[in-house]
């Protein structure tokens, strides 16, 4: 039982951390895609969308090659910060974050596109600089979309399997999340345990949806 408790908390923590880490760059990129024209925009768009299109296991493979012991980024982290990424909880955060990133960026982009540019323009004529306009006009008006993007990203992070299993492995007590746990239990023939994890997953999904409803309604006009 404590096992289930640990896996649930671990999964929630990972998904939360993964989402929080991708929100600043994801929202910024969503804004840049919605509002700016820049060279290489199409390339970046495609790269960001890639994890949505290719099999998650393939994304995991790329991450493993990059962040593994002999990977360029893996070595960098080990030498500079003295931390290992692959096959640790950090790899789980990495995999869930990367997989959730495109969903957040796309939703944020649409949310920003729906904010009338003219409102931002008028705000600037009233004396507000670009940063103040962004935080006091753009973000509040894009609030629902941004919130939906975060919930979507969080939900994706909760259920991520393919990329995680590649880059983090299935190490009980260290890298096993709900999704990995279900698979692992079925493999070992512990169908009962698998179903308990399934029930928790469903409960979490309901809670996430309820939370997002509450968050978007709270300030609604």
């Amino acid at each position: 039982m404590s096992d289930i408790f640990q896996v649930t908390l671990f999964t929630l923590g990972i998904a939360l951390l993964g989402t929080m880490l991708i929100v600043p760059p994801g929202v910024a990129l969503g804004w840049a895609l919605a509002r700016r024209r820049w060279p290489g925009k199409a390339v970046v768009e495609t790269l960001v969308a890639l994890p949505l299109v290719i099999p998650p296991v393939a994304t995991g493979l790329v991450l493993l090659k990059l962040f593994g012991r002999h990977g360029a980024l893996g070595r960098l982290f080990e030498n500079v910060f003295g931390v290992e990424i692959a096959f640790t909880w950090r790899a789980v955060v990495l995999a869930t974050g990367v997989m959730a990133f495109p969903l957040l960026v796309r939703t944020a982009r649409v949310a920003f596109e729906e904010v009338p540019v003219r409102l931002e323009g008028v705000a600037r004529t009233l004396g507000a600089g670009p940063l103040r306009v962004f935080f006091t006009i753009t973000v509040p008006l894009a609030r629902r979309g941004l919130m939906a993007g975060c919930v979507l990203a969080f939900a994706r992070a909760l259920g991520e399997f393919g990329a995680t299993v590649m880059v983090a492995g299935m190490i009980p007590g260290r890298t096993i999340t709900l999704a990995l746990g279900i698979y692992n239990d079925v493999l070992l023939g512990n169908d009962g345990a698998a179903f308990r994890l399934l029930a928790i997953s469903v409960a979490l999904a309901f809670a996430a949806v309820a939370l997002s409803e509450w968050l978007t309604r709270r300030h609604a006009p």
Binding site: L119, G121, V122, R124, L126, G127, A128, G129, P130, P221
Partner: protein, 360 residues
């Protein structure tokens, strides 16, 4: 304060805006049909669009100088901008909208304090309301107040009355006049409604296809449109081709087929023969049984009423005087004269009201 636009050019799609002008009046009206470039010009002045070329100054401040790469960002121009749909921030209350603008004002904003502005515009009772609950007229007043609270050096009003029904318009016009008289902020007022212009503006700039056709005192532009296009845009009702017969003692005689008209012969280049005659419908006086009446009007035409078209409190009378002539009368006058299609009347037009526009 002078708003100077020198060689301002912007190409967008198939449309080119090219403006050379200095706005010096308290209120300059920017008149033109939709698509003439009014909003584009206003956005350029506000700093929301960058022109391809040109220099824009407000007083001593250079707002834009393309050649030297100067472009003051909109937040540092101190130019208030009220677009047609008011563009209130929907996530803030009325008070929140005003406070958003207030931050910049600082010490310069004594005269533009929130309480004073609210009093002038009569929105003190709306402060706690949600912006989405306001009526069209209230929304425009809040937008005006918000622009004023930011202590602007220039106000750009882009068709603020366009989306509002006629009765409300009349209720809001006085507020605009009060802004003009209370705050000493020069305004550029965009519209295509002649009545609003007359009620509010000192000068009028007529814009068509991205070009400034005429800029001058409003009565001058209305009475003496510089080109047939200006006449059509500002709504002079009668524009007819004619031939210049003679000029004597400053008075020109022109013939429109069988009819002769007298007009003032100012600024007629030597050798002019082909002219356009323009007569504002408001300047035509109709009388019945004119036989014994003596008047000072130089032009005494007889004609038949062809059609009577009511246009609000005013009625538009279309006459045939040997050429089509339009007169605007009040409904009372039409009733008293018992005008109806087929009735014969005399039309009087003073010579100064017959405007000659040299052709080609």
């Amino acid at each position: 304060m002078t708003l100077a636009l020198h060689g301002v050019r912007l190409r967008a799609g198939g449309f080119t805006l090219e403006i050379e002008a200095e706005f010096t009046a308290r209120v300059t009206g920017l008149f033109g049909a939709s698509g003439s470039g009014k909003t584009t010009l206003v956005e350029i002045i506000a700093g929301l669009r960058r022109p391809d070329a040109g220099r824009i100054c407000l007083g001593d401040t250079v707002l834009t100088e393309v050649a030297s790469g100067v472009s003051l960002p909109p937040e540092r121009r101190r130019i208030g901008y009220v677009p047609q749909d008011a563009a209130l921030f929907p996530h803030l209350s009325v008070d929140g909208n005003l406070r958003f603008a207030e931050r910049r004002a600082g010490a310069a904003g004594e005269a533009f304090s929130r309480s004073h502005v609210c009093t002038v515009l009569g929105i003190g009772g709306l402060l706690s309301r949600r912006v989405t609950d306001l009526s069209g007229g209230e929304r425009q007043r809040v937008a005006l107040a918000r622009a004023l609270v930011s202590a602007p050096r220039l106000l750009l009003l882009d068709e603020p009355l366009a989306g509002i029904d006629a009765s409300l318009k009349e209720a809001i016009l006085p507020y605009l006049q009060r802004i003009r008289d209370e705050f000493a902020v020069p305004m550029v007022y965009v519209s295509h409604a002649a009545q609003e212009m007359i009620a509010l503006c000192d000068d009028l700039a007529v814009l068509s296809s991205g070009r400034l056709l005429q800029l001058g005192a409003i009565d001058e532009v209305f009475r003496q449109p510089a080109t047939p296009e200006v006449a059509r845009i500002v709504g002079v009702e009668t524009v007819q081709p004619a031939r210049l017969v003679e000029v004597r003692d400053g008075l020109a005689t022109v013939s429109l087929g069988p009819v002769s008209l007298s007009a003032l012969a100012t600024d007629l280049p030597h050798g002019t023969t082909a002219v356009l005659v323009s007569i504002r419908a408001e300047d035509v006086i109709l009388i019945k049984d004119a036989g014994a009446v003596q008047t000072s009007a130089r032009n005494h035409l007889t004609g038949t009423v062809r059609a009577i078209v009511p246009a609000g409190p005013i009625v538009r009378i279309e006459l045939d005087c040997g050429f089509p002539l339009v007169a605007m009368l009040t409904r009372q006058s039409v009733e008293e004269l018992q005008l109806a299609p087929g009735v014969r009347v005399s039309a009087l037009v003073k010579a100064p009201h017959v405007h000659l526009i040299v052709r080609g």
